[in-house]
């Protein structure tokens, strides 16, 4: 019995200690970085506290009962109590009232978050296995992998999928919404301040579901406008005699344009629009940071590094030389 | 103290020592009612799916108004309805001990049921000829699956009826086993009621 007591106390302490530790987590849901996420956190934090109190009460009662009523050798038989109506009513009503108190602000928040925000930037998010396309229809911009947004202003996302159900989630900015083919689900996000906010697809969508990451980049309004302007510029033409031009040749020879759009060059609709590829911080569904090492890994064997993705290069994988040239071309597409 | 004989399985024996059931109904009867309860959910899910898809196809695609022949289906519905009547007569027969009557009505019920299924099969071939098969659109898929499941249930019912008929012929369906006929009857009436619902929701209501 004494050993049980010590063990119980030890486990409890250990658990509390472990619970206290938390590393920095960029996809943390409890560190809101925008108004939507903050409304959610403001709603759930008191609920967590209530749940914690109930937890301590119930587990405490269990521990109390275990220690207080253990059989002692000469103790008499217990009284055969069958029930107590008042207690039953009490512990039916009390939780019901607590839950009512939770339900009311919950429903209020549901409706509040369902309201369309004013003065939002409209973006259509097209989810595909395994990357996100962002179409700013009003602004005439098409990009991929990164949701660029102005600080302090809502983006209203219209979610479409062309294949299976995905789910769009940037936890520091807000909750998730499923992207269901055939439906127009909508959500909005706001960012308090500039920075990169990480998320990922949260509805199992196939082999590389784990690799379908998301990123939102919030910028001051002026920078956002500048970005828009940059995205609307035509594609950079590679200067003759440069490695970039050799890459351009590879791009055409190997048929990249059959899947990818580079404005003025090709009109593919399977893969991301690459017109301003070099302006992005990540690629391949934000699975990789945009640098030469990763580009080499990717271009050398896309299916090997990201199973199940749709980049099946016509004619088989690229040679190392082709990859080098192509990297130069990609880097030129600012 | 009376002998405690625990007989169970699909036969109801009149056994003076058989312990009375807690409800007074036989195990088999309670089982059939329970099973029919679950069948309600089965058809409920299929019917709901059909209703959810109703009107969802693009205009211009094949739709009920293009293929349904209400008079024809009304006749086969009537046939099925009548089979419920003959089923009742079959049950009355065996309860009265008139086994010849029982066999006549059991066979009639089976034939009426078979006619219904045959009529449906013919109706389906017409639909297919008119360009409506399983995979054309939402309406066609949900229609064929719903009515197909129902038709399969009728077919199983017909097989059960023919089995009873055959048992009776061999003298293995005495009046003491009347409840077996009653339970098959319950199943048969259920299948009939489901058809009434389907006919109304699918065929009659536009």
């Amino acid at each position: 019995m004494r050993r049980n007591r010590r063990l119980a106390a030890l486990s409890a302490t250990l658990f509390l200690f472990l619970a206290a530790c938390a590393e920095n987590a960029p996809q943390d849901t409890l560190e809101p970085k925008g108004e939507v996420a903050r409304k959610i956190a403001d709603l759930i934090n008191p609920v967590f506290i209530v749940a914690g109190v109930v937890f301590l009460l119930v587990e405490g009662l269990i521990l109390l009962v275990i220690f207080k009523f253990r059989a002692k050798p000469d103790a008499p038989e217990p009284e055969q109590i069958h029930g107590n109506t008042r207690l039953e009513v009490g512990w039916t009503l009390a939780p019901a009232l607590v839950l009512l108190a939770v339900a009311v602000p919950t429903i209020a928040t549901i409706f509040d978050l369902a309201k369309k925000p004013d003065n939002a930037v409209n973006v259509t998010v097209v989810a595909r296995q395994f990357w996100w396309e962002y179409i700013y229809e009003d602004l005439g911009v098409v990009t991929a992998n990164e949701l660029r947004m102005p600080v302090g202003r809502a983006v209203e996302l219209k979610l479409n999928s062309i294949d299976v159900i995905h789910s769009y989630w940037i936890p520091p900015l807000g909750g998730k919404m499923d992207v269901v083919p055939g439906r127009d689900n909508r959500m909005h996000l706001v960012a308090d301040g500039p920075g990169e906010y990480l998320g990922q697809c949260t509805e199992f969508c196939g082999d590389s579901h784990a690799n379908m990451r998301a990123k939102a980049i919030a910028m001051p309004a002026r920078d956002f406008d500048a970005w828009v302007a940059e995205q609307k510029r035509p594609a950079v033409t590679a200067a003759a005699g440069t490695p970039a031009e050799e890459g351009f040749t590879v791009f055409n020879q190997r048929g990249c344009g059959s899947c990818h759009t580079v404005e003025g060059v090709s009109n593919g609709t399977i893969g991301p629009n690459l017109t301003h590829f070099a302006s992005r911080t990540s690629f391949a569904g934000s699975m990789f940071d945009n640098n030469d090492t990763n580009l080499r890994k990717w271009l050398s064997d896309p299916l090997g590094v990201k199973p199940g993705n749709k980049m099946i290069i016509p004619g088989g994988n690229l040679s190392p030389d082709e990859v080098t040239k192509l990297i130069a071309y990609m880097n030129s597409l600012r | 103290m009376s002998s405690v004989t625990a007989t169970s399985g699909s036969h109801v024996e009149i056994d003076p020592g058989h312990p009375p059931t807690s409800t007074g109904l036989s195990n088999e009867k309670v089982a059939m009612w329970s099973f029919l309860g679950s069948e309600c959910l089965l058809f409920g899910a299929l019917i709901s799916t059909y209703l959810l898809f109703k009107g969802q196809d693009e205009p211009g695609q094949i739709s009920p108004v293009d293929v349904f022949d209400i008079p024809y289906t009304s006749v086969s519905s009537f046939v099925l309805l009548m089979s419920s009547l003959t089923m009742v007569l079959a049950l009355a027969g065996i309860q009265r001990g008139d086994h010849r009557r029982t066999r006549i009505w059991l066979l009639t019920t089976a034939l009426l049921g078979a006619s219904f299924v045959a009529g449906q099969a013919y109706e389906f071939t017409v639909f297919v000829r008119e360009g409506m098969n399983l995979r054309v659109n939402l309406f066609s898929s949900s229609f064929f699956v719903l009515t197909g499941f129902h038709g399969a249930h009728v077919t199983i019912g017909v097989l059960m009826l023919l089995s009873l008929f055959s048992l009776s012929l061999k003298g293995k369906l005495p009046t003491s086993k009347a409840e077996t006929v009653e339970l098959v009857g319950l199943y048969w009436h259920f299948v009939d009621i489901v058809w009434i619902v389907i006919f109304t929701l699918v065929y009659l209501i536009p």
């Binding site: 530790c21 849901t29 275990i66 339900a103 784990a210 | 995979r135 699956v145």
Partner: protein, 690 residues
Amino acid sequence: MAIVTPPRPEALAPEQPLHTPIRFLRRPTGYTKGVWGWMTTVDHKKIGIMYSATAFLFFLLGGLEALLLRVQLGAPDQTFLRADTYNQLFTMHGTTMIFLVIMPLSAGLANYLLPLMIGARDVAFPRLNALGFWVFLVGGLFMYSSFFLGGAPNGGWFGYVPLSRSIPGHNMDYWAFGLQILGIASLTGAVNLIVTVINMRAPGMSLMRMPIFVWMSLVAQFLLLFAIPIITVALFLLSFDRLFSTNFFNVSAGADPLLWQHLFWLFGHPEVYILILPAMGIVSEVLPVFSRKPLFGYQVMVFSGIAIGFMGWGVWAHHMFASGLGPVATSAFSASTMFIAVPTGVKIFNWISTMWKGKLTFTTPMMFAIGFVAMFTIGGLSGVTHGVVPADTQQTDTYYIVAHFHYVLFGGSMFGLFAGVYYWFPKFAGRLLDEKLGKLHFWLMFLGFNLTFGPFHILGLQGMPRRIYTYPEGRGWDVWNLVSTIGSFVIAASILVFMFNVWKNRKPQEVGDDPWDARTLEWTIPSPPPEYNFKEIPLVTSRDELWHRKYTEDEHGRSVRREVTEAQPTLAGTAVEPAPPEGHEGPDHVAGKAGTGDEHDGDGEHDGQAEEHEEHIHMPSPSYWPLVTSIGLPIICYGMIYKAWLVAILGGVWTLGSIYAWALEPATAPEDTPDHDPERGHDEAEAVHA
């Protein structure tokens, strides 16, 4: 294992069978022993053991799958498992644990115990009962055969469309058809147990005198009865889409993928109550015995179980809060989800009150039962937080959800089921499990369980999604994933302890009828029970019938052992009042049982009935038709999957033909007259063959 049959009396040697010359086609008899005896048994107790043992084997498989997943996730960017392998493993882990472990283990215990607890000799339809087990077995084997035939199901245990309808290969066909087969087992089992409980209760056992495990199992069976047809339809629609290109979930034809989710969760939510209610029933049996007090608030516990059963139909879309249902629908389901916590919470308080002022002994079953209460509370609380819809849009599809359901399904159902296994093991097997090893199992499992799944709460709130085969560095998830992986191996160790315990105590022991000093009817008969269960059908005069036969109460309401345990009251000439009509239950027992005491002139337990036996107890005969019928089902399914229509038709003919042969076979074979003479049989029952 033992087949308890009395020796064949010469005068009653069975006749030569009338028809079949081929020996093995002859219908097995009550004397048939060995493997064939087990394969043809219709005895609910043997069937219960087979269900439970098979479920345990699948538990090991599902656990192995889990360990592989945890090894892969123990550190970021691991390449121990490929993506597709991982997807197969997590799909099969979930499918296995739900459909091949918890459900059949609950069914196994219900099968064994329900007739004993209500004073019946068997279930209503013994051969149908056997069918349920064999169909379960072939269904599980069918599903697992996929590992060797192109790959196991890989679309998640929930199979969302459009993904599941378009995954190439046959993996998801095995999933859909396998579940259909298992659904048949569940549905037939549900009908059987419902009829048994409703119709075969011993005289005097009104509904409100039934042990609470019977009640909770009954509610679960009703949930199965109505939920299984819904998933049956959903799976047919999916299979038709995959095989015949129908349009049920074809988005380009205008279908809405949410239809699948609605159908699936209309089944899926009642399903989770199917998974938890039997375990709740077990806890409600175990806690009173080891607190030496009755269950606190029996009526409330019954009604809250029924309430949970009803309300469970109204919350399904809480699995769809992020799918875009709109604020009105999500608000409605948020409210219903919160309020189903009320009857659930009531149970927790009643369990604690059962122990309050009790005299607690911490046997292994008691520890698992208390563990259930403690762990289920955590799972229930996290469940309530899911009901806060805006928060759920952060929580859903993350490890926070995985934490919730493992706390309720493992910390809840599995702990409850282990409590049941340890509690009833002496009754099933006639041997006690080692208490020290049992306690070691408990503590290791408790520690391992919390180490594995506790961190999932944190991981989920830190943004780790589910169903991902790997994760990158720098997300802050590394430490907790490692802790969880270590915890999973501690769980594995605990299971080895359990298996060692069972193996170590494989020799029969003298445990007696009632080693725990328990409260319900199954402890009035030998351990293990004879095939016919009760020498005489008991007459029940109160709830906790056995307790009232052993104990009376003093003026403070404390139990006082009677000098003479009240014998089985007899039906004839008794002074006992009949049970009041249903619904008019006042006290939970009937006063005035003194009449039965007068009929005893001796000191024996079985006085007053020994003289009356010239009759014999006829039990239904074994049959191989359930086994044969079950084999037809995977044949149909293999034929369908590979579009080998002839094979499918052959399977259909096989199944139908077997059902015919079964229907025409009498429940008790005329030439099978094993003499279940209780007087003789009782002595022979002690001779157990290993």
